[in-house]
């Protein structure tokens, strides 16, 4: 792939849940039936076997996926078991995004409101897309040209990396709680915070209500 940076491969856990109808779970692993042609593909995701198989521990770190959903006690148990295995890093699985990400949520560029909007997706964003393309133009090619996918991906990835940096900085400065509160306020302008957000955050004692 000529990618000189780190690579993180997905365990397929999300697929296991979302494609349950096509999946057959056994001790060996999870078998999926391809929705296109009915052929089978097998994903193995049991950690111990993975660690045994992971011979390249110098070059490749195995990131166990923290499981347990939003139930703190389950997550704690999963975490304890993972720590026992001394894996070098941890990943939080299960997040997905779509459309174009901006502060305060996401915008669906196909909407009529952007027809005459000759500004970039995000004024403060420094990505290639925002430096060169307008919302009005993107609206004319979204869902029609593959270029639109590339341009939106560039912006969305830049945006996520920016948020991650802001999170890291706020953790370093000890202002993480405030950061989360401000972020949630701008994301849910009418303060109609979804239940899952409240549950997840209150389990960490950062009640954003």
């Amino acid at each position: 792939m000529k990618w000189k940076r780190a690579l993180l491969t997905d365990s397929g856990g999300f697929q296991m849940v979302s494609l349950l109808k096509l999946a057959k779970i056994t001790e060996e692993g999870v078998k999926f039936e391809s929705p296109y042609d009915g052929s089978e593909c097998i994903t193995t995701r049991w950690l111990d076997r993975c660690i045994k198989a992971n011979q390249n521990s110098e070059k490749q770190n195995l990131f166990p996926i923290v499981q347990g959903g939003l139930y703190p006690d389950l997550r704690k148990r999963s975490l304890e078991q993972l720590i026992q295995r001394d894996a070098p890093g941890y990943a939080i699985g299960g997040l997905r995004f779509g459309c174009a990400l901006v502060d305060g949520g996401q915008i669906s560029l196909k909407r009529q409101e952007f027809k005459f909007d000759f500004g970039p997706i995000d004024e403060s964003c420094t990505c290639f897309t925002c430096k060169n393309y307008t919302r009005a133009y993107l609206r004319t090619i979204v869902t029609k040209e593959t270029v639109a996918c590339h341009l939106l991906s560039i912006h969305n990835i830049t945006y996520i990396l920016k948020i991650m940096e802001q999170i890291r900085n706020s953790i370093k400065e000890g202002t993480f709680v405030k950061f989360v509160k401000d972020f949630m306020k701008s994301y849910y302008k009418d303060e109609a915070y979804p239940e899952w957000v409240v549950d997840a955050l209150s389990s960490r004692e950062t009640n954003s209500g």
């Binding site: 004319t140 029609k144 593959t146 560039i154």
Partner: protein, 443 residues
């Protein structure tokens, strides 16, 4: 805009320059040139940082739905699509998409957008042109014809086009540049009726229905049509022929004196998951010619032996000529490959300098968009390098020799492909290209 001829020969290839373009007055472009096809304002699959294009070619249909947006924007199409450094030529129908035939009438030309069929009247067309601000553009015309069209359809297309042109001329007092249209077999009659002094050049249309349809046209037939069309056209005006013609047809048209083409072929090849591999430099053509000469020599020796033993003679040259030779030298990227070599060993494009054939195969097998991106980069680079070679050949007075060598090599390859086993060709060609090449012959 100014078009000047540097090298000119009677009914022969020309070297020219385009300069004083309204959008980029300081820039000079040499012809023969290939315009870069865009769809929706962008090069298919490529963001603008990936490929440097010379002059963009955009068809009107994508923006027919967005006239109000462009009118509000007021800065023209090349700024709107974020290609401000590129001059733009606007054409009516998208050369990369096959035309839906039979929908034009005497008052409008039909084109299709997301919201359905749009009828372009001269007024609507001019409104669009006014908002797009191209450097040059086709006059509204009815070119919904091809080699199989009836005489009635051809007559209608001519009459409609002439009518549209006259209406446009009246309206275009303050606009500087536009095209006339000419069709083939009634070329000379048509050329006399249009008002030649007011146009900047000519589009050769009506030969095909866009999309992949030009690929199967017989190059010899195209030559006859183009020559007939250009008979009464003044030599000092530029000649444009957009569409996904085969390389052989393009060479014929250049030899007849056509100046401007486009990169539709590169786009169609990418859509078909094929990578260009035809010889596009003097070096690669020279290598293939040496191989061809050895092959022909060997066949002569076999024939002499057969003569001795009264076996049947094989004439390598003649068999090739009896077929309509539209053979394409292309690599099918969906052919399973674990090759660690690039698509083409001698190619310096980003794709070939960075990735292996096996990886590109994998991308297509997994339906990843990156596959099309990389293939488009390779095909456009290959196409552009070909035009650079052609300009060089014309400059040095070597174009006719170049074309003759190219044709003779292709004919031999075709003959062998249709008689001997494919592995014979692969064996030889892989020496030059170091990959497996599929020689597809197209009748």
């Amino acid at each position: 805009m100014k078009f000047s001829l540097k090298v000119i020969s009677e009914n022969g290839p020309r070297l020219g320059t385009l300069c004083n373009l309204k959008s980029h007055p300081g820039r000079v472009f040499e012809t023969p040139i290939s315009l870069t096809l865009t769809q929706g304002g962008s090069i298919p699959h490529l963001t603008k940082d990936v490929y440097y294009s010379s002059v963009g070619e955009e068809s009107i249909f994508h923006f027919a739905d967005n006239l109000d947006v462009l009118q509000a924007y007021r800065k023209g199409i090349s700024n709107f699509v974020s290609l401000p450094t590129h001059p733009v030529c606007v054409v009516i129908q998208d050369p990369g998409t096959e035309l839906r035939s039979g929908y034009n009438d005497s008052s409008s030309i039909s084109t299709w957008t997301d919201s359905g069929r749009i009828k372009l009247t001269p007024k609507k067309y001019i409104d669009l042109i006014d908002s797009m601000l191209p450097d040059w553009y086709e006059a509204l015309n009815d070119s919904d014809t091809n080699f199989c069209a009836s005489k009635k359809r051809i007559e209608k297309s001519l009459n409609n086009s002439l009518k549209f042109l006259k209406q446009s001329l009246r309206m275009l007092v303050y606009l500087l540049h536009f095209w006339a249209v000419t069709t083939h077999w009634i070329g000379s009659r048509w050329s006399k009726t249009i008002e030649m002094e007011k146009v900047d050049g000519y589009c050769l249309l009506g030969l095909h229905g866009n999309g992949a349809t030009p690929q199967n046209l017989d190059a010899e037939h195209i030559r006859k049509c183009v020559l007939a069309s250009l008979e009464n056209i003044p030599a000092d005006k530029m000649r444009q022929a957009q569409g996904a013609y085969s390389i052989q047809s393009i060479l014929e048209m250049i030899q007849c004196g056509v100046d401007i083409f486009d990169s539709s072929s590169a786009f169609i090849a990418t859509e078909n998951k094929r990578a260009f591999s035809f010889p596009n430099t003097f070096e690669s053509l020279g290598k293939l010619r040496k191989w061809k000469d050895r092959k022909v020599q060997r066949h002569r020796e076999i024939n002499d032996e057969n003569q001795q033993s009264k076996k049947q003679k094989i004439d390598l040259q003649d068999r090739g000529r009896s077929h309509s030779c539209n053979m394409k030298l292309e690599i099918d990227v969906t052919d399973k490959s674990d090759s660690k070599e690039p698509l083409m060993v001698s190619c310096k494009c980003y794709t070939c300098s960075t990735f292996t054939r096996a990886y590109i195969h994998h991308l297509f097998a997994s339906n990843e968009m990156l596959g099309q991106v990389l293939l488009m980069i390779h095909n456009l680079n290959h196409w552009e390098a070909f035009f650079k070679t052609v300009r060089e050949a014309i400059k040095n007075g070597q174009f006719d020799a170049f074309k003759e060598t190219f044709d003779s090599v292709i004919i031999i390859l075709f003959t062998i492909a249709s008689t001997e086993s494919a592995s014979t060709i692969f064996g030889f060609l892989s020496f030059f290209y170091d990959v497996t090449i599929k020689c597809r012959s197209v009748h």
